[in-house]
Amino acid sequence: MYLSTVSRPVADQPGSGPRRRRFTMVSGNVVALGTVSLITDVSAEMVAAVLPLYLVLGLHLSPVAFGVLDGVHTGATALLRVVGGFAADRFRRRKLIAGVGYALSAVAKLGLLLAGRSIPAIGAVIAVDRIGKGVRSAPRDALITLSTPPEALGRAFGVHRAMDSVGAFLGPLAAFAVLLVVGQSYDAVFVTSFCVATLAVVVLVLFVREQPDGEAANGEAANGETNDLKVSVREAFGLLRVGPARRLVLAAAMLGLATIGDGFVYLLLQRRMDLGLRWFPLLAVGTSLAYLLLAAPLGVLADRIGRLPVVIGGYTALGATYLLLAGPVDGWPLIALALTLYGAFYAATDGVLIALAGPVLPARLRTTGIALVQTGQALAYLVSSVLFGLAWQAWGPENAIRAAAVAVAGVLVGTLLLLVSPSRLTTRKVPR
């Protein structure tokens, strides 16, 4: 398995058909997982939309004290993600582990009701929700890769991520609808959110398959699954000794270093624009909209021209976003351009990177591998956001964002050096 396999897949892919046709070309399992993600995101974003209202106006808690609790769990979540990924591989129960993750988050919604005004209890409930989210994403993405022929992975992830974003879009609307009907009862929002999340688990149990039909198409996967030996911890660690896999995890972590976080991007945009503060939340909506619309087309593009170029393009869009934030464009063109580019960055990298990683990782260790990629990115982002905060303090916002743009360029060069060897660049052969 060579990285060139994924960066330059089979050329005769029909991918530019009309939307409907494209949709039918992802496997049933991917559509099922997308549906589960869509419903779950409705549930999650319902709670996200009203949680501040609930804490401050419902419980009269001081958010400042609440913030102190926050951020402690990031490390634990990162570790659990890898442990969950390994368990999914070892027992070949990716669906089960993903289901546990979805169920944990569902239960957390009810936990908010039981936590009452206790800050530690609320902190614990949010931690459970976050653990659920951390645990489920790697096995879910692994199932997508195992249900899809390698040459169609970009499209599969694109469709999945687009469905996911639709859910995130509908969630706040659902929450506000509930509040409109019941008045100020945040409890009713949590119970509704729990019911929605439970429905997602039902769909997962009934429609998501552990052994997808399409798996036979993936020769390597079939080999892996017929092997009766269980994945050992040693083997999992060995993953990082295999050249391509290690390079990929390293590259993912390095790419993570290029992201400074939505909070900073929107803050800079708001400062540049002197945007009315109350419109601030709409910046995230604009980005999601671009992400939603671009995820599937860019996934298809990744299958046609190669995933690495699309990922590189995505990070180029990120660098361009940073430059815009320090650049000469102003006013509404700035907002429109910046949010489109920022959404394009997500659309070109979030799913496509996993589509790039999937075939490089052996099927029997795929969940662990994807968990490592995601964890590496998350931890790197943690580092880079702190560094950006320090740069802001030392050099001021404009210079800090220019430095971030330079960092993106550096990270891109590093990624290219890691993932593309010169010989493959020239031959462009696809060993299959």
């Binding site: 009907v181 019911c195 303090q393």
Partner: protein, 327 residues
């Protein structure tokens, strides 16, 4: 799971959706609060902000007044809904619901008539009026941009009711920290209190995990730090002391002690109130502080304690919050 036909699976999904929908709807039906009947405005006497021996407070989300001599006695409640209120010299500020999920800062005249409104982001937290009634300030909490992003930030704004000029957020002001210029993306302000000149003010500034008392200059658009671990300052009518909440062991997670800072000696005196006070206290004259405490079920009460560290806390207005003297 034995093989089920797709039709059977869909049937189970639809049945689950109906069942779960019924659960949600049933819960919502029982949880839905009966629409609050807004207390009728007026009555025998209407709520007014004109200076007098009365206390202003929020009762069940509505503006109300009580007699200063009998604060637990008869209460006059207006139809105006506010989450936080304050008044001085016949000018009031009210953080008022605009829709179910947005709020506005409303400036009121003595008859509770709205003279100005400013839309603000986030959730109401603090509100103040300068002693002259000219300057108005507010603080709101703005949530993180997602469920998992960290914490909250605050926005604090100031409005000059005479000129109409507004500062949407103090974050634009130049900062001097410990004598040196300072900037950071994580700077947050809350809890403004004005001095008698209607230009200088005190407030809390948080950055890098520390919370500072700052003195600000509106005309110069600057703030400078004076002391650490001072939150929600409230200047005494004589301008010599600041009541504030001091985080226990400098850790807000451990709660706050209501304390008083003498501005000439910079000495801190803790009040006799040992329960955690998360409020910007109001001065009742130069000797006493009023503040909100919540019972275990979240219901508020207004309490009072001497500012010099003596005495014991006393319950002033049961079932009310956001106290303000009408001076």
């Amino acid at each position: 799971m034995t093989a089920m036909s797709t039709r059977a699976k869909l049937g189970v999904v639809v049945a689950s959706a109906v069942l779960l929908g019924t659960v949600a709807a049933g819960y919502a039906a029982t949880a839905a609060q009966a629409p609050r009947t807004p207390p009728t405005a007026g009555g025998e006497q209407a709520v007014t902000l004109a200076p007098g021996p009365r206390l202003l407070a929020i009762t069940d989300r509505h503006v109300s007044t009580v007699a200063a001599t009998d604060p637990a006695g008869p209460r006059t409640v207006a139809g105006l809904e506010c989450l936080r209120v304050y008044a001085a010299a016949g000018t009031g500020v009210c953080l008022k619901p605009e829709t179910a999920w947005s709020y506005e800062v409303v400036v009121l005249d003595a008859t509770l008539r709205q003279t100005r409104a400013v839309s603000v982001p986030g959730l109401p937290n603090r509100a103040r009026v300068s002693a002259s009634g000219r300057m108005v300030s507010w603080t709101t909490f703005v949530g993180g941009d997602s469920y998992t992003s960290s914490g909250f930030s605050t926005r604090t704004g100031i409005l000059d009711t005479r000129t109409g000029t507004a500062v949407a957020s103090l974050e634009e002001f130049a900062i001097t920290r410990d004598g040196r210029g300072y900037r950071n993306a994580d700077v947050n302000y809350w809890g403004v209190t004005f001095t008698a000149d209607d230009n200088r003010f005190y407030a809390t500034m948080a950055t890098g995990g520390e919370r500072y008392l700052v003195r600000g200059d509106l005309a110069a658009r600057t703030v400078e730090t004076l002391k650490e671990n001072v939150e929600c300052p409230s200047l005494s009518p004589d301008g010599t002391r600041l009541a504030f909440k001091e985080a226990v062991d400098a850790d807000p997670a451990k709660g706050w002690r209501l304390s008083v800072l003498d501005l000439s000696s910079m000495r801190v005196t803790a009040t006799a109130e040992t329960r955690s006070v998360d409020d910007q206290a109001a001065w009742l004259g130069n000797g006493k502080l009023a503040y909100t405490l919540r019972r275990d079920d979240g219901q508020p009460d207004v309490w009072s304690v001497p500012a010099d560290g003596s005495g014991t806390p006393t319950l002033v207005i049961p079932g009310a919050e956001s106290p303000s003297p009408l001076t």
